[in-house]
């Protein structure tokens, strides 16, 4: 039995609304004679009602299926259409070109082996063209036909077409495309889509459809055998089989296989199907394997040729397309789903962002919605996989948000990261990002440092009231208060002050993880201690506020009578009065409380943290 994958080919069509993509696909279906008469009738009705070509059939309306998009003249989501020619059968995925374009196009491209890329002949190759082509390359689509559309508006001039074809050829060769063919077309009239155009006699190459039905493809059954286990079939004692769809290679009874990540070996006894045992099964087939000896393997394992097993790892480097509404930050806890395997994971690092417009790798601490980048994933268990470039079924993964269940990213595995194999994370279903979402705020620590009497507590108190009034969740850690409990065993020696700062910063960090805006009102006189406190937080989570007032002003205010007691000799190591205060050289915020009211100071802090709102 032959591999079925060449007989049902998935094709993705990409281009923007203005390129005339829906029209081209509509025309493609129409000229391939894949439009039924009642649909043709509905098309004629819709053309009269919503059409953009007065008096003529608007082929785009064959594709815009949903009410909302008919009314708004946009295509909302990827649509899948079957069409067939005498040579091949196709499933055409049409991804619309607008807001969610990257997501929709990547979705459609993920299972496509061929792509149609639309270019407006008058505009030539735009940044958008390259962006589309890079998404194709990212998703592993390496054979593309470029439909240079609107050739009628470019006067059917060969040089216009030739310069586009040459430029794209260079780009394609540089970006790993195996095939890139350009065709001059006019979508509304159908030139060179199915039927060869008389208006471009200079074009000798195949038409769009001729290319689709003749282009050579890779044969996945030529690689080493791999089958992810979906389900163990055990109706009783007499039968035990491992069910799955063969991802690569072929298998015969007698073959020696290994089940990964466990590593158990076994020999294939039979390939069991409803229609009887098979002598051989190949990539693309859903089968059930029975082994000569009991095999310790379950759902999520990969059964592979024993002589050429795939890699196994608990840490992966992957290209990632982030789809979540919130930006992706390092440390995000997610669920990973790869072939039939699911695992808890942490996005442990974001190496870079990939600019899809230019192809450049940019330094980035986060990925925004629809941005691509390279990340590290630390899994809570080892999984068997293949690099995406070698196998899409074993190298493509999705990230699932634990709080909403949404699919928030698509990942394409690059390599295993051995060095991180021993690092294990305890992933929690509810992480800081989830708590922040629930509380509707950006958690952080605001650290007020300054002399006794400089106004730290007063400002922190005002700030907390303001935050509370706007619905934020806060907590104040006050230097005096913690000494009644958390630090009751500590005195005021330099060592004890350092330990006090360590404890308080650790508690503040936990509270930030809990999603709170933490206000620390703490003399914290030493630079080194404050630097150590800052180091416990992610960049941007720690805001150092220097509450600055001249010593004589503080002594004048003396709200707690500390300076008076020091003058009387009852306290010997009061900061500023026998014990030094090391002022911050570059605080995040510098409040001069002798020159403004506490309210004005609090307001400045509030502005600095954006009222505690979540980042866009």
């Amino acid at each position: 039995m032959a591999a079925a994958s060449d007989s049902l080919l998935r094709v993705v069509a990409c281009g923007s609304v203005d390129d005339g993509k829906s029209t081209l696909i509509g025309r493609l279906l129409w000229d391939s004679r894949c439009v039924m008469e009642d649909h043709a009738l509905a098309l004629a009705r819709a053309s009269a009602e919503h059409g953009t070509r007065e008096g003529l059939t608007d082929f785009a309306l064959l594709l815009d299926g949903l009410l909302a998009e008919r009314e708004q003249g946009i295509t909302i989501d990827a649509a899948y259409r079957g069409f067939e020619t005498p040579r091949r059968r196709f499933i055409l995925a049409d991804a619309p070109g607008h807001l969610q374009y990257t997501r929709n196009m990547a979705t459609a491209a993920s299972s496509a082996r061929l792509a149609i890329l639309l270019v407006d002949a008058r505009k030539g190759l735009l940044e958008q063209t390259f962006r589309h082509a890079r998404i194709l390359a990212l998703m592993g689509v390496r054979r593309v036909v470029v439909a240079v559309n609107k050739m009628d508006l470019a006067g059917w001039q060969e040089p216009v077409f030739a310069s586009i074809a040459t430029a794209f050829g260079t780009f394609a060769a540089d970006n790993g495309f195996l095939e890139a063919h350009c065709v001059p077309v006019c979508a509304p009239d159908g030139d060179n889509i199915v039927h060869r155009s008389a208006r471009a006699p200079w074009h000798a190459g195949p038409t769009l459809v001729e290319w689709l039905e003749t282009v050579a493809l890779d044969d996945p059954s030529a690689s080493a055998f791999r089958m992810p286990v979906q389900w163990v079939n055990r109706p009783g004692e007499h039968f035990r089989g491992w069910s799955g769809r063969i991802a690569a290679g072929s298998v015969r009874p007698g073959d020696e296989v290994v089940a990964l990540p466990g590593g158990a070996h076994a020999r294939v006894a039979s390939i069991s199907t409803f229609d009887g045992d098979l002598p051989v099964a190949v990539a693309g087939q859903s089968v059930t394997l029975v082994f000569s000896e009991p095999l310790d393997a379950g759902r999520g394992d990969v059964i592979a040729a024993a002589a050429a097993p795939p890699p196994v790892a608990a840490a992966l480097e992957a290209d990632l397309l982030w789809l979540g509404r919130e930006p992706l930050l390092p440390g995000r806890s997610v669920e990973v789903r790869i072939h039939a395997c699911s695992a808890g994971a942490i996005v442990s690092a974001i190496h870079c962002r990939t600019d899809l417009g230019t192809g450049a790798a940019c330094e980035a601490g986060r990925l925004a919605t629809n941005e691509a980048g390279v990340v590290e994933l630390a899994l809570d268990r080892p999984v068997a996989f293949e690099p995406y470039g070698d196998s899409r079924p074993l190298g493509g993964l999705i990230l699932v948000d634990r709080a909403t269940g949404d699919t928030v990213a698509a990942g394409m595995v690059r390599v295993a990261l051995r060095r991180a194999a021993h690092v294990r994370w305890q992933p929690y279903a509810v992480d800081r990002a989830a708590r922040e979402r629930a509380m509707g705020q950006r958690a952080r620590c605001i650290w007020f440092t300054g002399l006794p009497g400089s106004g730290k507590s007063t400002i922190a108190n005002l700030l907390e009231q303001a935050l509370l009034a706007s619905g934020r969740h806060t907590f104040v850690l006050d230097g005096d208060n913690v000494r009644h409990g958390l630090s009751r065993d500590l005195a005021f020696s330099d060592a004890d002050r350092a330990e006090n700062v360590r404890r308080v910063s650790e508690v503040a960090r936990l509270m930030v993880d809990a999603g709170l805006i933490v206000l620390v009102s703490f003399i914290s006189p030493f630079l080194a201690d404050r630097a150590a406190a800052r180091a416990r937080f992610e960049p941007g989570d720690f805001l150092e506020v220097f509450v600055d007032a001249p010593l004589d002003e503080c002594m004048l205010r003396d709200p707690k009578g500390l300076y008076a007691r020091a003058r009387r000799g009852e306290i010997t190591d009061l900061t500023g009065f026998g014990s030094p205060y090391e002022a911050p050289a570059a605080p995040d915020l510098h409040l001069r409380t002798a020159e403004e009211t506490p309210e004005a100071s609090a307001l400045r802090v509030l502005r600095a943290i954006g009222s505690g709102q979540r980042d866009a």
Binding site: A42, L67, Y80, G82, P86, Q230, F239, S272
Partner: protein, 310 residues
Amino acid sequence: MPHGRSLTDGLLDALLDALDELESEAIEILREVAAACARPVMLYSIGKDSSVLLHLARKAFHPRSIPFPLLHVDTGWKFREMLAFRDRVARELGLELLVHTNEAGRAAGINPFDHPDYTDVMKTQTLRDALDRHGFRAAIGGARRDEEASRSKERIYSVRAPGHRWDPRTQRAEFWNLCNPVLMPGQTLRVFPLSNWTEADVWRYVLREGIEVVPLYFARMRPVVERDGTLIVVDDDRMRLRAGEQPVARKVRFRTLGCYPLTGAVESDAQDLPAVVAEVLAARYSERAGRLIDQDGAGAMERKKRDGYF
């Protein structure tokens, strides 16, 4: 210009391979649901697509039995031949078949003649009730993307919001063949293993696999009235005849089966499977052209889907 194709253009050999691919894909999806989804059920409507789905489920889990029950929403207005077929198939294959009817609606006399909201009450609402009552979280159905424009945008694994609402704007991105079965409280899943099949694929597969289908798909002499251009087969004496309507025997068959007063037949000579396949391959009209409920204006199916219709 649009027209169908014939058996003679050399397609059949190549397309059998496409059937293998579609079969393996559907089996992969069915196994994924059984292994990863909580509380699955297979919707069984007795039609050809359901018959194919049932056959695929038997294949997916062979040699064990199908690991989830089947659910039929019976509106009370199905063809008698459909019900007889359903009960015999369930008995012969030893299926766990649940039949759910809106008893309140039936008692209230809700019927397709007098009640414009008949389909909503007896079918859509009843389906939602049945899923809720049994606590099913994943419902497998035989819908195909080639049936209707809004269905071409449907996912294979389609998340429904609490209340079974379908919102095309909030569907999860679907990459490769990966299933995301994670559901929040109140959410349910609809799963469509036949998404990429066409009507012709279904018939070719029925022929290749020797799958038994309801005899209504084959042309026979049946009592017919022509109403608003549609051929309605008078299945029992509950049919309300309008003034001047007189059932006449005509040789007809069905391309799609639903409630008999709402399903149009087509004139045909196709009395057996090879003839039906040949007819479908040469078809000039889509199969849902015979479904009255889909013709309530453009977007009719989308509105029904949003309300929780399958």
